[in-house]
């Protein structure tokens, strides 16, 4: 009787199946993979206020261009998370 129970249990255990469907990790737009550039420094020791101002403006521009990419990453993650959750629902 015990052997019969064991055989039936083993037989039923085979009914538990893992669905063999794999979800591919979503591709990231290549432009989001670019690293933020290094900020500019003032190379001239006797730089004027105007030159310094130009470097500062250029650095602000660099920062905001990098921020756009970071925002893109955040948006990408949020959208991909929603899409992934829909599949696993």
């Amino acid at each position: 009787m015990n052997k019969l129970i064991l055989i039936l249990t083993l037989g039923l255990a085979s009914c538990g199946t893992v669905v063999p469907v794999k979800q591919k990790f979503p591709e990231v737009p290549p432009m989001l993979m670019t690293k933020c550039p290094q900020l500019d420094t003032i190379t001239d020791d006797s730089a004027s206020l105007i030159n310094m101002l130009k470097v500062v403006v250029k650095n602000y521009s660099t920062y905001y261009q990098c921020a756009v990419v970071t925002d893109g990453w955040q948006e990408w993650y949020q959208i991909q998370k929603i899409i992934s959750n829909e599949v696993n629902k």
Partner: protein, 153 residues
């Protein structure tokens, strides 16, 4: 165990249905044919039990195959949606980067065109032609502070 089950599951479904009804007929016949009552009962019971097992397995397999098809469709739809989202994000990043870059260039042009000609600025630059080295060093140190955090590029 599973190898035997797999080999038998290759047989078509109609075979198990036929076996099931044959088993039922054999069990029914065992009450009328007294001479072969015992073999018919044993054979009929075995046929019914085995056929029910494999009909159940086939039904279970069909259920999982349906689930696989459903998930494959969902994954394919998700890939399409993901690619569409990537296109939208890419366009947004390109547009925003272009706007920021152009705005920066416009400000540099404004400095070259108007700021340098401002009387107040001209007077100031005449009084202080060069920025003290300490200020430049402090600015440069701030611009390279990521290197201290191991972010050297």
């Amino acid at each position: 165990m599973w190898q035997i089950t797999w080999m038998l599951s290759v047989l078509p479904n109609w075979f198990w249905t036929l076996l099931f009804f044959s088993g039922v007929v054999a069990l029914g016949a065992s009450t009328f044919i007294k001479l072969y009552a015992v073999p018919l009962k044993i054979g009929g019971f075995a046929a019914v039990a085995i056929s029910i097992w494999f009909l159940g397995a086939a039904s279970n397999e069909e259920k999982w195959q349906a689930r696989v098809r459903e998930l494959e469709a969902k994954v394919a739809a998700a890939e399409v949606k993901s690619n569409q989202a990537n296109t939208v994000i890419e366009e947004k990043v390109i547009t925003k980067t272009k706007v920021v870059k152009e705005k920066g260039e416009q400000i540099i042009q404004y400095i070259n065109r108007d700021v340098v000609k401002s009387e107040e600025v001209i007077k100031y630059v005449e009084r202080c032609p060069a920025i003290p080295k300490e200020i430049i060093d402090a600015h440069n140190a701030a611009a390279m502070m990521n290197q201290a955090a191991g972010g050297k590029k």
